[in-house]
Each structure stands twice: as C-alpha cells, then as structure tokens.
Symmetry: C2
Subunit: 309 residues, 2 copies
C-alpha cells in the first residue's frame, strides 16, 4: 500500500492499457487529425514577460485574445495599450486565493502617480458584456446545460471558447464564461466598464457570478503557473501591501511583435475530435475511473491548445 | 480611468454602501448570530506544519476532517497515521496546476525505500465512496440542481459539507463533492481505495469526475495558500522531479495534540443565515454587480469557517 495517486491517466497510460481500455481525453486529443486544429494568428496573442526569477529563469505568459464577435471594444484597447508599451515596468498587484491574479498600474488609484493612458482608447458600454441576437448554429453538448433558478442557461462552445446563453424562442443573449485561466478587464463601479489596462485571470473555481458583469477578453494558453504560484497578497482582496512583493512586468507585446514566438493552435470545438474529447471528459472510462460522472461542467472541458507541430 | 478592480465588496464595503444596498455574502456571514455557528472539535482537525520558508515564516495548514456518516473508514486510518507520526519528515510531492497538491511518501512506490505503514489500518471498500439509503432531511437550495445527462444530481449541503445525490423515489446515493480545498485520498487502480497515507487537496476548478471514484476526507480551513502557491511540478502529473523541490512536512497531528491551537467554527448549513448567504452568492445584489446570476454552482458557495471569537 504505497499508493502514489495517479488521479488521471494523462501521462501514465501505457500502450497495454490504451489497447484494452477506452481512450482518455488526452489520448483523444493526441489522436486528433491536423485538420481539426486551428492556427492562432500571432496578432491575436498577447505576450507578457515578467521579471526573471532567481537563477534567471524566464517567466513568459502567453494570452490568446478573444476573437469576434465577443468583447472587441476592450480587445481593441488592449492592442492600443500593447502598441504603446503601456504595461512595461508595471506589476502584478493582486493575488487572491481561489479567485484572481491581477496586473496593471499599482498606483492607478492615485491621480498624482498614475501612469497616463494612451490616447485612442474606447469607452465600451455595459451592453457589450453580452451579445444579443439569434442563436448561432452551435454544436450540441447534451450534458452541459447549467440551470440557474428560473432561467436555464445553455453552456456550449463557440469558435473555441466557452460560452453561455439564455433566451426564449430564437432571441438569445450570450456571453463568454469565467473559466479557470480566462482573462478579464478590471473595472470600478458601474457604469465604468474598464479600459483593458487592468487585467486579471481566474485562478480558482469559475466565478460565474462575474459573467455578464465584467468583460472577458482572452485566456492564458501558456505560462499560467507563473501567475498561479505567486504568493497570495495579504491586503484586502489579495492586494500586495508592499512594493517589493509585486512582480515586475518587463514587457507586454502583441505576438506579431515578438521574435521567435512559437506557433499555437487550438482544437476546433466544432470538430468530431472535440465532441469525442468533451464526451470523454463527461464520462471518464479510462482505467482509473470506476464510475463515469455522466456529465461535466463546461469549465471542466478546457479547450485544448498546444504549440503547433 | 485608473480602475483597480474591486471584483467583490468583500472588504471594501463602506457603511454608507451597506446602508443603501443589499448586504454582500460576507456581510451576511458577519451578521450571523452566534447560535448559527457550530464549534469544530479539536480532535476533528488535522494540523500539518510544513518546513518554514526563508526568513523563518511558519507554514501551518489546518484541515477539518469529514464527520460521520461520510468516509469514516479512511478518516479512522488518518487518525491512526497521525498518532503514529507517520507523515513527519515526509513531503509535498506533487503540484499540478488547476488540479491538486499531493503529499505523503515520495518513495512510496519503491519497496526498498517506502516508509512502512503503521499497523491497524483498515482496507476500505469502494462501496464506501457513496452512502446508500433514504434521502435525509436536507435544506432545499432552489438554484443548486446540477444535471448530468440523463441523471439529475441534486447538490446541497449536509452538516456543513457540500454533498451531491442521485436517486429515485426515496432511495438515494449521496457523496461529498470535490470543491476547491477539499482533501481526498490518493489511490492506485481499482480495487485499491487508498489508506489515507497519500492525501491531496483540490487547487483548481472542482474536478467532479472524481466524485464517487475516490474518497474525500476533509477540507483545508486555514493555510491553503501554503499549498496553492507552491511551484508547479515539472514531471508527469505535476510531480516534482528533484528532492530539493519537495517541501518537507515537519509534523502532522490531530488538533487535540497541538498546544495553543485556536478554536474554529463553521456556519451551520441548516441555519437561516446560511440560507441567506447561499442566496446572496447566487444572486449578487451588492453594488459591484449589475446583473445577478440567478443561481450558483455549489462550489461557489464555500461554507464559512472562521476562528471562534
């Protein structure tokens, strides 16, 4: 009895097991044909380099920006801020356990010290948190409906992103979902919606009470561990209290301005491979499991993203 | 536009706001009468002291053990292991981002090096992952039903713990839920169910595919940040690859064997205060929010636990 918890067959499935058992979610992803993968344009990446750790190890966080039709007002602002090198020299200011890591201007609330924003930023209305209109042709995931009291929200994936919707007849509202690793826009009290200068990422259980209340603009696709493993802040809401606690941001650039950046791709959520992957996440049949769940929360079906081969 | 994201009114609600706005979840908890709180017996706590960090700061993790009727075979083993001081000198061996932190014997898989287990440990059958029987008198939380395909699972709270159930008529199966911070028992492939010597805690989105497949024995109630902020392991499944990466466990003791331990209490999930708190978590009406969700995932309603006043 010297069990070391496998907890998943992610990397330990042997050929013998794979031959006799149902494929695990990672095995399905690994077997997906090239045609089921979609390239992510470098211009749709945001690359944040943090100050190196002791011993000089680099800390690069790669974020995929949200594609149209969602959140494009804020995404446009983020492109402007990156082009202006606005974040360079600023810092990670907040790490609240089971909630968010937030970065931007630590002096942003102090009019005498705040870094001026570049010109040309849009003020985006609250209406842009959600999209209105006819229901798109979504793939159907039978086990993903998430009820909210009297309103049934329909969770699904649209163009590679977790999305939820509510509505009746053909008229729906839909919006991206606050899953682990999603990146959102800090704001003050309504009607402020934020510019995109203050950003955060989710590091705990999906805080879905924020859905439709705050803009989501992307997701971390590499380097998440450089944010999640930071010491938790001891101030209110997890803000750091001392300057020396704040990790410095060396630079934030759009991917097409970064030399030598790898190519990235994601598994198309409309593909047959993704359907099989989502089903396997909802019904684990690989050897470790004795009782498939019969369903899954959308945030337990992370969209596979990888460096292109 | 120098927004520093409040994201919640947790600690910034002013008296003026509180007077004019609906109370936030933390305000409801703070106003709960003493009668709504339940003391946690020191014997039901597991206290794990990790090796101090640089500059000597202590790292204490306090775990509340699962009460009857759940998982008592494994909890009994954990009491035996703590009494035998079995974990002392062992280590944190695995940190997998958005999944688990795991501790125990890093040499557990090597028969020549594994630390022998104490005598008297029970072998617990898989049937004990779930309880069978009539549905208990649960409080009803209207917005918590979580469907899983053809089976509707009913999520609720029982004696202060997140629990899910499925069934028909009055016969149900029920089991504790893998929310953030819950502590479970590592195991090898079925029919092994683990002894309780290898433990893990959830540090990401609730991995509910593990529910009913692995034993849950408690939850971290203090010091979670000493586990969640550890560097992620670079080996398969997030295991550390080098001895020097592993944080040492100085000691693990039951709470009644620890001098000077604070008293802890949790908010009774049957209380009116908890009902109001759960409703407020599902329908945020405090000033930051513009659109209440109308429902919440059970893992977004963490049971309040605090040091007793």
């Amino acid at each position: 009895m010297k069990a070391i918890l496998p907890l998943s067959a992610l990397l330990v499935a042997t050929p013998v097991l794979a031959e006799n058992a149902a494929p695990s979610p990672p095995e399905i992803v690994a077997a997906a044909p090239k045609a089921d993968w979609r390239a992510i344009a470098p211009a749709d990446l945001l690359v944040m380099d943090l100050s190196p750790r002791r011993r000089g190890a680099e800390r690069r966080v790669v974020i995929q920006l949200m594609p149209a039709p969602f959140s494009q007002g804020w995404v446009g602002n983020i492109r402007t801020l990156a082009a202006a090198r606005w974040w360079d020299g600023l810092s990670i200011n907040r790490v609240q356990d089971n909630y968010v890591v937030q970065w931007g201007d630590a002096d942003g609330e102090d009019p005498d010290k705040a870094r001026p924003l570049p010109s040309g930023l849009a003020t985006v209305p609250e209406a842009a948190y959600r999209l209105d209109g006819d229901e798109p042709q979504w793939p159907r995931f039978a086990n993903l409906t998430w009820p909210r009291g009297t309103v049934t929200h329909h969770d699904t994936f649209e163009k590679g992103w977790p999305v939820s919707a509510e509505g009746s007849a053909n008229a729906v509202h839909r919006w991206p979902v606050h899953c682990y690793g999603m990146v959102g826009v800090g704001r003050n009290l309504s009607p402020d919606t934020g510019t995109g200068a203050e950003l955060y990422t989710v590091i705990g259980h999906a805080p879905r009470h924020l859905d439709g209340n705050i803009a989501l603009v992307g997701r971390v696709i590499e380097g998440m561990e450089f944010l999640t493993a930071l010491p938790r802040g001891t101030g209110a809401l997890g803000f750091y209290e001392k300057e020396r606690e704040r990790v410095k941001i060396v630079s934030v650039r759009l991917g097409n301005a970064v030399k030598g950046l790898p190519a990235y791709e994601y598994l198309a959520t409309e593909s047959e491979s993704f359907m099989r992957y989502a089903d396997a996440r909802a019904n684990r049949r690989d050897p470790f499991f004795i009782r498939p769940a019969g369903g899954a929360d959308i945030c337990n079906i992370p969209v596979p993203v990888r460096r292109a081969k």
